[in-house]
Symmetry: C2
Subunit: 339 residues, 2 copies
């Protein structure tokens, strides 16, 4: 443990795609934990597409950050000092903390991570918020039925890769859409998807869907929005269900994005479209995490992580999300466990 802490602040609101100059790394002293607080040393930091929304100056489900505010996100860390009865030094914890080497945080806002159950980094991915998002979004919003054709966009990402595998467990035919041959091979060869479309290698998404999903689309789990989603909507079957999880293709738009109107399609298909936030399911997070953990240990649920080394490279890792650089969960490794 050193005396110096590094923290990232939002130095300006990005216009369009974020650039590195939106992030400022400042040095401060390591904070002292107050009563009930825990000093956490960051091991892994999560960067997630939804954070782009918090960089905008407009109300949304996540409160916007002010310029000069610290950036925050999921962190797995090790307890360095504790004034909270539930934690002691050496414990591994997860919480929503600053992008920093150290944070002093109310112990009530932390949860324990059991390093014997799974690699601790999974608490930010397959066994963390992205895994739970996939779990609730697929099972309780999209409602796949055995025999359904399920299409997942952003399928090689932290959420999509889990969502597709959960649908596979439910005896669905799963087709993933992703942006490189490396990713589509990952989906079909490692994760057992029935089909995959590399959208970067085709101009005609509809024709690619007709080939990969010849019986049409019963369930669409959407992480991306935009033209890929337009194509999938054109192939929805009667009684289709669409779970809207993310719209990463649109997060950097400077003006209101436009596209073909879709409500008429919903009448013909009687489709149901529902947006969701994983936080709405908070009462049942433990149950979901327990099930996801069981599937990971049994080998039914596989995952991959893309790890960027060094806190100073967190902005680059975040920006890379919008360039499709990650396969599976994008993490930033900041430190190693002690001992």
């Amino acid at each position: 443990m050193t005396d110096t802490n590094r923290r990232f602040l939002l130095s300006k609101r990005p216009e369009g795609k974020p650039e590195p100059d939106a992030f400022e790394l400042v040095e401060t002293d390591v904070p002292e934990p107050g009563p009930g607080e825990v000093l956490v040393r960051t091991l892994y930091l999560s960067v997630d597409p939804y954070m782009r929304g918090r960089m905008r100056d407009r109300e949304s489900y996540a409160e916007p950050w002010a310029v000069g505010d610290p950036l925050r996100g999921g962190v797995v860390g090790e307890v360095e000092a504790s004034n909270h009865g539930d934690f002691e030094p050496g414990d591994v914890v997860v919480g929503n903390l600053e992008w920093a080497d150290y944070a002093a945080v109310d112990g009530d806002d932390l949860r324990s991570v059991d390093p014997d159950l799974a690699p601790i980094s999974t608490a930010l991915g397959v066994l963390g918020m992205p895994g739970r998002t996939a779990y609730f979004g697929m099972l309780e919003v999209a409602h796949p039925r055995p025999g359904d054709t399920v299409v997942v966009s952003g399928a090689a990402g932290a959420v999509g890769s889990v969502a597709g595998q959960i649908a596979r467990m439910g005896d669905c035919r799963v087709v993933g859409i992703a942006g490189s041959d490396e990713k589509t091979s990952f989906l079909t060869d490692e994760l057992g998807f029935d089909g995959a479309i590399n959208y970067a290698a085709t101009d005609d998404y509809r024709a690619a869907l007709d080939e990969a999903a010849p019986d049409g689309v019963d369930v669409y789990f959407d992480n991306v929005g935009g033209e890929i989603t337009d194509a999938v909507f054109s192939r929805l079957n009667v009684d289709a269900r669409v779970a809207v999880c993310g719209q990463i293709a649109l997060y950097n738009e400077k003006s209101v994005p436009t596209g073909p109107r879709k409500l008429g399609t919903l009448i013909e298909t009687r489709a149901r479209v529902r947006g969701f936030l994983v936080s709405d399911f908070a009462a049942r997070f433990d149950r979901a995490t327990e099930r996801l953990g069981r599937w990971v240990r049994s080998g039914d649920l596989r995952y991959r992580e893309t790890v960027t080394e060094g806190l100073e490279n967190a902005p680059e890792a975040f920006i890379g999300l919008f360039e499709g650089e990650n396969v599976g969960k994008q993490l930033v490794k900041v430190g190693d466990r002690s001992g």
Copy 2:
């Protein structure tokens, strides 16, 4: 009864808004009913927006008409002759028949109308397909809850006027959107809507909604689509429900209509959007009709009809639907009951 029958045929596929030359009135002999058939003399003919879809050369939920085919729609008529055990001359029946003075039709495809329960024309409106569409769409798709703010577009039409009143019965605050002061007065003064917006009198639909629905929109029953719907989507509350019943603003578009993308809004609000067709609820039509009839007789459910006289004016009545000329159900009166 004369020896001459008049029938309307689709003489060409309209491009954009239908013009009178898409309809051809031809004279033929009055048909002879075959075994099991009934000869029906038309009293009232229904024109409905969904018929526009059948004039297009593309597959949809309603099979397209071929050029030269007779136009068809809801008809209330009187039995002139019957080879079917359920019907005898003088009976009033309803069915899906040709736009014609007479039709010979399988008696199994007709239902009896009881002239003592309500005016027979209501079998095409408040107690017919439009009323049932409102009933199932509001109660089983939109799911309003007491205290909800419910917005209905196309609110003065055959479906919207019933949908809004059903939400009122459920203790909701109901705001209708319609296209003239006559219509908004009808909604608030006759039907008991809590508020109404004349979209033709404002350029700023969002500001009008902020005034009429200051607490935002919990339920949106959409009959129109387009920019009115864009505005309502921008005002959806968390957990909003949208029932997509019709998109009349788009039915005459020559190319794929575009507009602001909406799926991001669904994430923030966790809103549910569902399209529906009344035919999906066919197993429970009788129950819905019975309830609607009870509400009409008790005065809880009011209705208005706009009646155009003369079969020859059916095209004009149909075209008028897209110009917002009707208040309540648009009918064409073709004949009077005998006796």
